[in-house]
Every structure is written in C-alpha cells, then in structure tokens.
Amino acid sequence: MKKFFSVLFLVVLLLPAWAFADQVVNVLNWEDYIDEAVLAQFTEETGIKVNYMNFTTVEDMIVKVETSPGAYDLCFPSDYIIERMINKGMLAEINYDNIPNAAQTIPYLQNPAYDPQQKYSIPYLWGTVGILYNTKMVDEPVTSWSILWDAKYSKNVFMLDSIRDSMGITLKYLGYSMNTHDIPAIMAAKTKLIEQKQNGIVKAYQVDETKDKMANNEAALALMWSGDAQYAIDLNPDLAYAVPEEGSNVWVDAMVIPATAKNKENAEKLINFLCRPEIAKANCEYVRYACPNAGAMELMGEEYTSNPVQNAPEEVLAKCEFFNDIDSTFLSVYEAMWMEVKNTK
C-alpha cells in the first residue's frame, strides 16, 4: 500500500520530466546541499537533464529509495546509512572506468570502514561534530565536552535534537564508543543528559535554527556540525569551533547509485563531473562543509587548508570515529533513552 501510493505520487510528480527529456539523471540529495548553478552547467555540457529532488532525514531517503525502485539514479546518504544500504543489497557497484576524477579523493577517506574497498560510494562532503562557542561569552579554552555540563553556562547551551549525535558525544565524554551496544554505558549517557537538562543548562534542543541563533549571540555554546559552524562563523567573527579532546564523530556524505537505477551511466557522468576540482570547490564554498577532493583543496589554497573548522587537523581526526549502523532493533534502546531525556521536566 505504502509502495503503491509513493509510486503513484512520484509518477504524478515526475510526469513532466518523463514527457520531455530523453537523457536524464534523477538525483536525491539533502536540502540546500549543492550549488545549483553546477547542475545547469552539467546539463549544458552533456545535454543530460538533472531531476533534482530533496530529502530531509536519512529515514526519509531510505524509504523513498526502497518504495520507488528505479526513480533515483544518484543519492547522497551518510556513512552508516551506506553501510546499511550495502548490507540490504540496495546499491550498485560503481564502474570506476567512467569516473577518472575519483582519484582526487583524499587518502583519509579512500578506504572507509563503511565501504571497505569503496566499491559503492565516492565521498561528496564530510565533516566533524564539535562545539560552536561565542568567544565573547566563553573565556576559557574549549577542550572538553564537560563544558556542556558546566553550571556557569546555565540556560546558555543549545543541544542537537538528534539522537545519535547527542547520545554519541555524551558516550564519548564518558569514555565509551559512540557505537556502543553496552547497556550500562547507554544508561549512563542517558543519566548524564537528564542531569544536564535538570540542572537547567540546556536552553533548547534544535537542529536547523541553531546556526542562525548562534550568529545572533543567542547562546554561549552549541553542539554543532562543522559546516553549520563555518556558516555561523562567516556571519559572526566572535564565534569559534572546537572538537573536544575526548574525541567526536567524523562523518561523510557520499555519492551512491541505487541497484535499481535506470540511468546508471548518466549518474556516473554526474559523479565524475562533481569530482572535478573546480566543481567540488564551488560546492564546498557554497555548502561550507569539508571537501574530500584533493584537487579542489589545492585550488582553494591556504585559506581552506589552514582553517581547522573545515579542514580538521590529523590529531583531531585521530580521536574521532565514524558511526556504525546500529540495527533498528537495538536502535530502539537509543531512541527510548533519548525520549526519556526529552520528556524530563
């Protein structure tokens, strides 16, 4: 039923595209995650029309790809979602002969744990999770997650309303892995987060609003993704970003081709295009996350490579870990504990 309606909806949605274009590629990406001018350039160069569609959560994306086979040729999921999609057999192997520009990928991301030989995915953008803080309100150096529990900053901390991120950094703070399956560890993280809320330190749990509010001096500290942090720093030079010493999460959004894709070769052409240094540079400068493309990094030069927010130093990365995919049964423990935190008054 779900499938039927999604397909019907899509068919209606995509009718114009189906009626007019002969060469197309159907792309499903995060919202506001590309410089759309490059898509026009791609169509101009190759004559292939790009049907560009958005998703807002990874759950949403997986459901879309599963329920409408053949509707998407290129998707941009995050690392642990790629792991899940590979295990479910949802992805097609990439033909590297069609993508010479893939060689531009920086060595750090060339052999990732979520896709060991990089058979299915090519990195698009990446980044870390850390603390965005206002140097006018925070005097001490930000080196530990403990600052998010410091009573000094009561009612002055924005947390992320995102289960894996908020639970993950708390686990890191307590010395556990972000991917732990250890029940006592998860319980300890829950208790810590409840303590943070009951002590009145959290001002709000939010996602998209944080970057603009931080730029507007609304709070002293915020748990934040590096790209959003860079966006806020661009607007307000008083802000700074740090990844605490206990370590954090490093993540990649990569380009993958669903096994059901109808226009695999067009998708590969688009991947190759997006891996071209000038294009990767344009997207990186638009979206503000870190660029996995060596050629683009060279083009952006000193300004990019010396910026620790975007180009995280090696010693920081050494302490960070990728998310592993936690299967949905076990994830219910994380979800239930996060709900208890949210429900605390």
Binding site: V24, T57, D161, M187, N216, M339, E340
Partner: protein, 329 residues
Amino acid sequence: MYNMTLPWWGWAMMLVGLAAFIGMLIISIRRNHGVKRSLFASPYILWMILFTVVPVILIAYYAFTDANGVFTLNNFRNFWDSNYESNKVIMEAMGELGAAYISRGTVNVDTLVYSLWMAFKCTVICLLLGYPAALFMADRNMKLGSTLVVLFIIPMWMNFLLRTIAWMSLLEDNGLINNFLRWLGFEGVQLMYNSEAVLLGMIYNFLPFMVFPIYTVINKMDYRLSEAAADLGCNSWKTLYKVVMPLSVPGVISGITMVFMPSVTTFFIPRMLGGGNTMMFGDLIESKFLVEGNWNVGSALSLIMMVLILISLSILRKADPNGEGGGIA
C-alpha cells in the same frame, strides 16, 4: 522512462470513470429535476473518500500491524510503556542482569497528559479573552465593530508557521522585546524556551477560532430580547447574565471545540517557541514517523488521539444538541 505501475487498462478505467463522473455532473446540473439532488454531493464524497476515509483506514491498518504487516497489539503496549521495545532488547542482551536497567517508560502517557493540560489552559484563556472581545465587536452602539472584525482577520491572511516564527524574533534573548527592555535600562528576561511561551503561541494562533463563532451567534441574536429584559427591570449586567449568555452557549461550544482540537494536536509551536524542551503529543507523533521511521507506533498514537478527540466532541455535543453553534461539535 519511469515504471508505470498501473497497466494501460488501469489508466483507461480511471479515465472512463472520470469522464463518466464529469458527464453525470454536467447532466445533473442542466436537468436538476430528473436527477437526485445527492448527486451534487458527489465531488465532496469523492474528496472525502480519497482524503479522509482512505487515510483513516491506513492509519488503523498500521496501528494494528507490525513492520512486517502481521496483526499485533504491541503498538498500543508501546503507548503505555514507551520502553517496551527497548526493555525487550535489554533483557535479550543481558539476561537476568538486565532487570536492573528495565523500567516502564512513561514518555507517551506523560506527553498526552501534558498536551491535554496545555490544551485545557489554552481553551480557558481563549474563552476568557475571546468572549468579551466578541461581545464588544457585536455591540450595536459600537461603530468600530466591523473594523475590529477585519483587524482580527488580517493576521490570518498569513500562514500560522510564519506568524509563529515572527513571535520568535520578538521573544528571543536578543529579540525585539529584550532589546527594547535593555534600551530602557532594564535587565533582559528569558521569555522563550519554556512552556509559557508555547502557551502564548497557542493562544495567539487559536484565539480567532474562539472569537468568531461567539461573535456570529451574538450578532444574530434578536436585540429586542435585551431591550425587553431592560424594560422588565434588568440592569445591563443582569441582561448579560440572564439573556445574552444563555443564548450564546452554542457559539461558546463551537468555539471551545475549534480551539481545543487543534490545541491537543499542536506541533511545531513547542519546537519553535519552547526550544524543544517540552514535547507535545503532535511532536511525539511527528518524531515517530520522521525520526524513528516507526509508522506503526506513530499510527497507534494518532489513533489514540483521534479517539480522545471523538470522545470530547461527543461530550460537547450533549451541551448543544441542536448544533446551533454551526454544528461543529
């Protein structure tokens, strides 16, 4: 290019059906006498089947099945004990040791109670604010009455999401109100990120739904009844209390209904003005669908809410059996 899942005869049937439907509609309009009047209702009936009946059936289907489509009542157990799934996982992973980490999760029940309480407060305050406003607007000696009605309507030209976001820029710590206070030399105060701000947002958004039904009823009321009461010795307070108020009950009932229903199901406002510190039932359902991707539990929660609303509607209906307040209840 795309997989058309409907075969050609499926499309043909849909086209023929649609043509027949439109044809019948045209005939019924041209020769009203020969055709049953109920035919005029058919566009609405079709609309209702597609967008009300089918979705409700789907919600019920998801609420009583698990992820594999097998019948189960676990989604309702999940409502009562929000840790239901997680407790199972813990016991499986840890065996007897797990008992120390198990507890009944009260998240869903707590959130429902909190939402009902917030909706109750919102409705009462809207009534207290809205009734005098409606009386004022309907007053015959008031030249400004119709102007006030327009002023009440104008904000509703804008989408409620935008209006709520506008409240944010007023209430923020660096918002207009706090900047003004600081300019006057006072300390800033935290107005947002608490449940009072959420209540304010709800009242602001739902107040017109209380004012208009009451205004309509009072406006329609026979003015001579009040004059007769005055002739027979009632002072104006007594007229209000003995004549106007009893006659306006239907408007009050439909006002209460129209405020209470959207209040219980409120979402987005708690996230914007409350900073996500307190969840309401609408937010909970949203997160079940969009964050956890658990359509089954989400549907069960929606079903429970629908039943609660139906019950409260039938109680209200008792107070206005003839549906004089527009028959919403």
